[in-house]
């Protein structure tokens, strides 16, 4: 039976843009790295002094912190959901960390266990509401994150109190050879776990299946609800851990300190090629996307515009990035 459907187009002299577009769509992670590189090059062209060990260390540190909630966000998006509560969970565990540690060493394990439990619980709640009950993920995770935020205030009465333990802080902040911050050690633990989950376990395979076609996955014997709820739970736990690292980085933590990470992580993940529709995406893309977000902010500071102009520029660049990657399909093909 002749089948020519799969013949690949031999003459490749199509116009440059459609080729570029195809490249962007198929190599999203690589594209994110390229954009990051472009942003960095622009930064140091504008300000050659910007290329220094301090800056590089800082960029690594912030990228690692952002890449952790982005990991959870990636899983949730792949499974077809969306998690807006990562910011609130991060803030909550950050506040909890400083509140419990009170600047003394030795509370790490307690804090870790409680934080992960909180993350898992909130993630579970998100999962149940979005998946089992079937409410719109964006709205429900936002509503739940509001409640998480209120709990922070009730716990601390809104007062900034306590401090991360110096030892814990130093495991995040101190620099190897004056450049590489110690936080990479945490990254070396978390990243492989995430890669393992997504690429080398049936959980990952099922996650993609569920996100792509939940109905088919179910009839194929996948426990769809379980997988989706699990993705929210993992997202909650990862965010919880990121909140602890954030607290170590900031030393002190007020309520709502990391709320912005909800959007930040979402955009990072999207720039990394994961789509809202679910079923596709990769964690390497999300890490690269995190790097783009950090370098973008760095570039804007280098340009040193006034706050309103900075906002306008930020918007313009974000839209540009979205145009590059995330245009929906046209109705007419």
């Amino acid at each position: 039976m002749p089948s020519k459907n799969m013949t690949f187009e031999p003459n490749a002299n199509k116009d440059f843009f459609s080729k570029l577009n195809l490249f962007v769509q198929t190599h999203t992670a690589l594209m994110a790295v390229i954009i990051a590189a472009i942003l960095y090059i622009i930064t140091i062209i504008i300000n050659p002094k910007g290329m220094n060990t301090v800056a590089i260390g800082n960029i690594i540190l912030l990228t690692v912190i952002l890449s952790i909630p982005a990991a959870g966000q990636t899983m949730v998006l792949i499974s077809g959901g969306m998690d807006f509560s990562v910011g609130a969970i991060m803030s909550a565990t950050a506040v909890l960390t400083t509140y419990t540690m009170k600047g003394e060493n030795g509370h790490f394990l307690t804090v870790l266990i409680i934080s992960l439990a909180i993350g898992a619980f909130v993630g579970f709640l998100n999962g149940v509401c979005c998946v089992k009950i079937g409410l719109p993920a964006m709205i429900v995770t936002m509503a739940i994150s509001n409640i998480v935020t209120r709990m922070q205030y009730i716990l601390t009465q809104g007062v900034l109190s306590g401090k991360a333990s110096p030892l814990f802080s130093s495991t995040v902040k101190f620099k190897l050879f004056g450049v590489v911050p110690h936080i990479v050690v945490y990254a070396l633990i978390i990243w492989p776990i995430v890669f393992y989950l997504l690429k080398r376990s049936r959980f990952g395979k099922q996650l993609y299946m569920v996100g792509n076609n939940a109905n088919a996955a179910r009839l194929n014997g996948v426990r769809v609800t379980k997988i989706q709820v699990l993705s929210y739970v993992f997202s909650g736990m990862l965010a919880a851990f990121a909140g602890m690292l954030g607290a170590a980085y900031m030393s002190t933590a007020r309520c709502q300190i990391f709320d912005d990470y909800a959007y930040q992580s979402l955009i990072a993940v999207i720039i990394g090629g994961t789509t809202f529709a679910g079923g596709s995406g990769s964690y390497e893309g999300s890490i690269a996307g995190s790097l783009v977000m950090i370098l973008l902010s760095n570039l804007l500071t280098t340009l040193n515009p006034t706050q309103p102009v900075r906002n306008v520029l930020n918007a313009a660049i974000l839209i540009l990035l979205l145009v590059l990657y995330n245009r929906g399909k046209a109705v007419r093909q």
Binding site: G134, Y153, I267, I319, V323
Partner: protein, 374 residues
């Protein structure tokens, strides 16, 4: 009667309406009780919710939010959304104040320019979401930064004022408008009709006429399936752009109402309306794309507004019953957020109704099929 109620139960606006009514009754009760405790029991106090001044202040202060929620509902209908809707109101407000102040033109000219700005920014958002087909959530989030920046560039600190001749009518009741104490007393009942309520009614009436045109059908088609609408000869891009422009109209009116309420300008306000209006519309019964109606927006917006009011009186009441109980805002916010979450959970009820409808529909068909076969 029973029939029409059953039909109503299957409508998307059902939960929104029920939630709204429940909170309304709660509000009337708690507010009345709270007032009784301070001023002694009397019919007037029990129904203190209906005092002209109380009614007026609810409408006056919350009209912008409700209008914006209606706009958001319209966007949800065509399968879009706009979280920058909040800063857009601030933009309108800023222009309303700054244009007359800086250029010395009459106030109403400023308003027209502000309206045009609302259309312009909505068209921009529409261009991003409908024409360029960017994910609406992220594109409009990016626009939040843009509009915010523009607002501060136009007006760096809160300032300005509106002549009393403009804001006074907005902040009065229909009775006040026709002359207040000088008006004939038999028209006193008009005191229960705040002017902002009339504005709301007018805007909804305009919408009613728009929705009865073919466009009113097209928004559902486009929201449910762009491809199928396109196949039927409807341009999804055009319909979505139109929806964005109509939303621009809502935002413009909302911004002017806000200006009349505060009689001044503030570049940094209402930002959270973007997300809040989205939750409100969902609580009101909207789905993503093609499911719901404008009334969902009205009910959802009203629900959130009344929650806030009810919680205020609830805590006041507590502090009156338990002497020495002092209210910290954490608990107030906590309680209202829990209630909002509860409201969201309640939307499952509509989902259930819809499922039931589907089943009933199928059952009827099936029976008919049996008859047909014989």
């Amino acid at each position: 009667m029973k029939e029409s109620f059953a039909r109503f139960r299957r409508k998307p606006a059902f939960t929104g309406c029920m939630l709204f009514l429940v909170v309304l009754i709660l509000n009337i009760g708690i507010q009345g009780w709270s007032t009784c405790l301070s001023n002694g029991v009397s019919v007037g106090n029990i129904l203190s919710f209906f005092q002209p001044s109380a009614l007026k202040s609810i409408f006056m202060t919350n009209l912008p939010f409700i209008l914006v929620t209606v706009g958001q509902a319209l966007l949800l209908l065509v399968g879009q959304m706009d979280v920058s809707i909040g800063v857009q109101i601030a933009l309108v407000n800023v222009i309303c104040i700054m244009v007359p102040q800086e250029w010395g033109v009459p106030v109403w000219v400023g308003w027209i320019i502000a309206m045009l700005a609302a259309f312009g920014i909505s068209a921009l958002c529409g261009a991003c979401c409908a024409v360029l087909r960017l994910p609406a959530l992220l594109a409009s989030y990016a626009l939040t930064y843009l509009v915010n920046g523009i607002n501060v560039l136009i007006m760096n600190v809160p300032q300005g004022s509106v002549p009393k001749a403009y804001w006074k009518p907005y902040q009065s009741t229909l009775f006040g408008l026709i002359g207040g104490k000088d008006a004939p007393q038999f028209l006193k009942f008009l005191d229960y009709i705040p002017v902002p309520a009339l504005v709301l009614a007018a805007v909804l009436l305009i919408w009613y006429f728009i929705s009865r045109r073919p466009f009113g059908k097209h928004i559902y088609a486009v929201g449910t399936s762009q491809r199928n609408a396109f196949a039927a000869g409807i341009s999804p891009v055009k319909v979505q752009m139109k929806a964005f422009l109509i939303k621009g109209f809502f935002v413009g009116v909302a911004g002017i109402c806000l200006t009349l309420m505060s009689a001044s300008g503030n570049p940094l306000q209402c930002e959270e309306y973007g997300i809040k209006s989205l939750s409100a519309a969902i609580i009101g019964g909207m789905g993503w794309g093609g499911w719901g109606s404008i009334s969902c927006g009205v009910f959802g917006g009203g629900f959130l507004v009344l929650i806030q009011n009810t919680v205020y009186y609830f805590f006041t009441l507590l502090s009156k019953i338990f002497v020495g109980f002092s209210v910290t805002s954490y608990w107030q916010n906590f309680v209202s957020d829990i209630i909002i979450f509860g409201g969201l959970l309640m939307t499952i009820v509509t989902a259930k109704e819809q499922r039931k409808t589907l089943q009933q529909g199928l059952k009827a068909q099936f029976r008919r099929g049996e008859k047909y076969a014989k």
